[in-house]
Symmetry: C2
Subunit: 283 residues, 2 copies
């Protein structure tokens, strides 16, 4: 297959890690949430085998956040997803299909509950922020909606636990899957979740302090040599083998969650109010 | 500057013209509305000079449409834009900033009034469809919102008038700027507007019948040899020289329309109801 260049522009936003991955040999990009997402560092096969054996650091800043806070934030977040969040806990991540009033998918983010009245929706590739804004305005909800400056780096692969323990001490390995907490790096607190877009295990660092995050990025490569750390990115082969679906690739706004095998995230029997509930009952 | 490849995937949608432009020598892509938009056919300088002298055919299918129809469609469309559309006419295009309830920009589309209760919002690079869906649901508007299968090709440059006259006869040259009408091509009607993302003059064909559109694409090159027709794409040099702004490049959801020089499209003294009106009065 012939190669085509990507035409860079301000509209395809760079990340705080872009200059680093370009020095490290990134060869291809995709675009995700109007941002550059690395797609290859040379051979995808070699990267696949490395990811399954060692540890990689990924620039996944393109996984943008939609921050929803304020008095009606829980009501708005619940309105957008068919997953019952009434028993959700602060400090946990929830995989939540976002659906419209036709019961069709708009996105499949992980939602982080930061506080009873503050949420981050960590989105796949569509502008959930404008859906949230439209709903909030139409319903006259008392909420604040914005895209915070958060640039995720992921540490993925079986040796990610050793590498992260070396940097953050033993406590970080006690994080449960889809749990998150704040961890100190040289005096700066970083929100770190045990999550990531591979099935090889790992962490995602939600970097708010850019300078500290860039320093951490470099530090992971400095101290990770003994674990054979390499730069990487979500790997097409590993993703498909692991059954991780992708909005825009495997489903889109023409599909409902049942058509994507998301039954366990569709709580039609709950009392919570969400869009498309009646439509989904009939489907 | 080093070149990076674009990693193609289903999520970065191809257009009905992609296979054609790849045979014709496209060298770079950008991504726009989750779709491939050609960004170069070799030298951008040569393409710039050619665009200003002759005629080009562009694959701008990435300019997607949001179709809004139904009883409350005019109310919803007006709610989203600060431009007074109360005197708008069927058969005309309107450049309309779309703004949120903070008075900040979400997009700067051209809106086509197809009927009193049917509109196409021809969008720049953000998911206006989800903003419209959120607003419609929240306000309980009686509307239907969808992305129709419309794949625009543009014919741009000073000789576009000669080329289009050769294919569609003299009547097409009588279209006024930002007017549109339906024109016959071998028995298929195509909506054609006098518009386009250059200041060199030209037309945009809103192709709904894909097979006929592909045939028209080929035909334009067959009969356009005498006008030195070439494939092209929105040209960065020409765009900037002509003062055409670009959502995501020159402004985004952090800016209000006054900050972008859009005063003439902000009708604060009108009686129409739109989001952000009070905020903009104070800015």
């Amino acid at each position: 297959m012939k190669n085509y260049s990507i035409a860079k522009s301000r509209r395809l936003r760079s990340t705080p890690y872009t200059s680093r991955i370009e020095k490290q040999g990134v060869t291809a990009y995709t675009v995700y949430n109007h941002m550059l997402l690395p797609a290859a560092f040379g051979s995808i096969e070699e990267s696949y085998h490395h990811l399954k054996k060692d540890v990689q650091v990924w620039d996944v800043a393109a996984e943008r956040q939609v921050e929803i806070s304020g008095k009606d934030s829980a009501k708005l977040v619940q309105l957008m997803t068919c997953r019952d969040l009434s028993k959700s806990k602060v400090g946990r991540c929830y995989y939540c299909p976002i659906i419209d009033d036709n019961g069709n998918l708009i996105n499949d983010p992980v939602i982080l509950k930061l506080a009873e009245d503050k949420w981050w929706i960590s989105i796949a590739d569509s502008d959930v922020i404008f859906f949230a804004k439209g709903l909030a305005t139409g319903n006259k909800f008392d909420v604040k909606i914005l895209e915070p400056k958060v640039d995720i780096m992921a540490i993925q692969g079986p040796k990610s636990f050793d590498l992260m323990e070396k940097v953050f001490s033993k406590t970080i390995t006690e994080l449960k899957f889809f749990g998150f907490n704040y961890f100190d790096y040289k005096g700066t607190k970083h929100l770190i979740a045990r999550s990531g877009w591979s099935k090889q295990g790992g962490f995602e660092v939600y970097v708010e302090n850019t300078a500290s995050g860039q320093d951490l990025y470099d530090h992971l490569f400095d101290v990770g040599k003994e674990f054979n750390v390499k730069p990487g990115c979500p790997n097409l082969m590993e993703r498909i083998e692991s059954g991780l679906l992708s909005y825009g690739n495997d489903f889109d706004n023409n599909d409902n969650p049942f058509e994507c095998g998301f039954e366990k995230y569709v709580n039609l029997d709950s009392d919570v109010v969400f869009l498309g509930k009646e439509k989904l009952k009939k489907s």
